[in-house]
């Protein structure tokens, strides 16, 4: 349901479930556990494998934004489809978290060149 890579200060979070009240809670626990263990400040969410998200996902993202903010970091989102973009805009999330067409674009906002350096992998 979730793949996590870390690269320096950036954690790449790739969920692969429909994000609703049921899954959001499990995602929250797994992401927070990984983030707390890491030295990361930033999270990039790759939505390429997410086919559905409701406002539970918005709540989950705002919560993770607050976690990153505590370390002086931020969040970026990538690969949101048209359906998810609508929710992203309507919810007002667009005002606090930026969205990018690709994961590479999102990672590039936090690291100079994401192609450099190896990623550490973890699955949940």
């Amino acid at each position: 349901m979730l793949h996590i890579d870390t690269q320096g200060k950036v954690m790449l979070v790739s969920p692969s479930v429909e994000i609703d009240a049921h899954s959001a809670e499990r995602l929250r626990s797994a992401i927070d556990a990984a983030f707390e263990k890491s030295a990361c400040m930033y999270m990039v969410f790759d939505f390429s494998q997410v086919r559905f998200m409701d406002s539970s996902g918005i709540g989950m993202l705002i919560g993770r934004y607050k976690q990153a903010e505590k370390r002086g970091g931020a969040l970026a989102l990538a690969n949101m489809g048209d359906e998810m973009n609508r929710l992203y805009t309507i919810s007002g999330l667009a005002k606090i978290i930026k969205s990018f067409p690709t994961t590479q674009d999102a990672l590039a906002t936090f690291v100079g060149n994401p192609a450099q350096g190896g990623m550490k992998h973890a699955n949940a």
Binding site: A21, H22, E25, F52, S55, S56, I62, E83, R86, I90
Partner: protein, 153 residues
């Protein structure tokens, strides 16, 4: 299951108030409206609104107590979909407040307070009838306009 030759159909789903059943409600509405060929955006809008209404019933109506029943009634009249979601939970004391964006009684659960905002944005009409201590019924309608130019899952 589907008899749409008369342009009218109705089905009722009763589910235990478990969050895992929210996805079941989404699958159900998607299958129910398949005969009128919604496009990808209409399908996504309806599934999202249903997800919000059923989640509200489980989390707010029943406070995540899984021993209760949420009832979803789907009616299709021509291309007009009506979704009614009913719980017999605590009810809403401040309906106008609950419909305000970012209103939530459960910030510690990271609820965004956007459930009704999403329902109102994605459906044509949203009506809420609630009696404290008795329960809540949310009724939403949407006219499915497209003729399925693009199909979604």
């Amino acid at each position: 299951m589907q008899t749409h030759n008369e342009g009218k159909n109705k089905t009722v789903l009763e589910m235990e108030s478990r969050s895992c059943n929210v996805s079941l409600a989404r699958v159900m509405v998607a299958a129910f409206i398949a005969p009128v060929d919604p496009d990808v955006m209409e399908l996504s809008d309806i599934k999202t609104a249903v997800s919000e209404a059923v989640t509200n019933a489980i989390i707010h109506g029943y406070g995540e107590d899984e021993a209760h029943i949420v009832r979803m009634t789907l009616t299709l009249s021509g291309r007009l979909l009506t979704v009614e979601v009913t719980d017999n939970g605590i009810g809403i004391t401040d309906i106008a407040g609950a419909r305000e964006p970012l209103f939530t009684t459960l910030p510690e659960l990271e609820r965004s307070g956007l459930g009704f905002t999403v329902m109102e944005s994605f459906m044509d009409t949203v009506d809420v009838i609630s009696t404290p201590g008795v329960g809540t019924t949310v009724t939403m309608t949407k006219d499915i306009k497209s003729n399925g130019a693009e199909h979604g899952a």
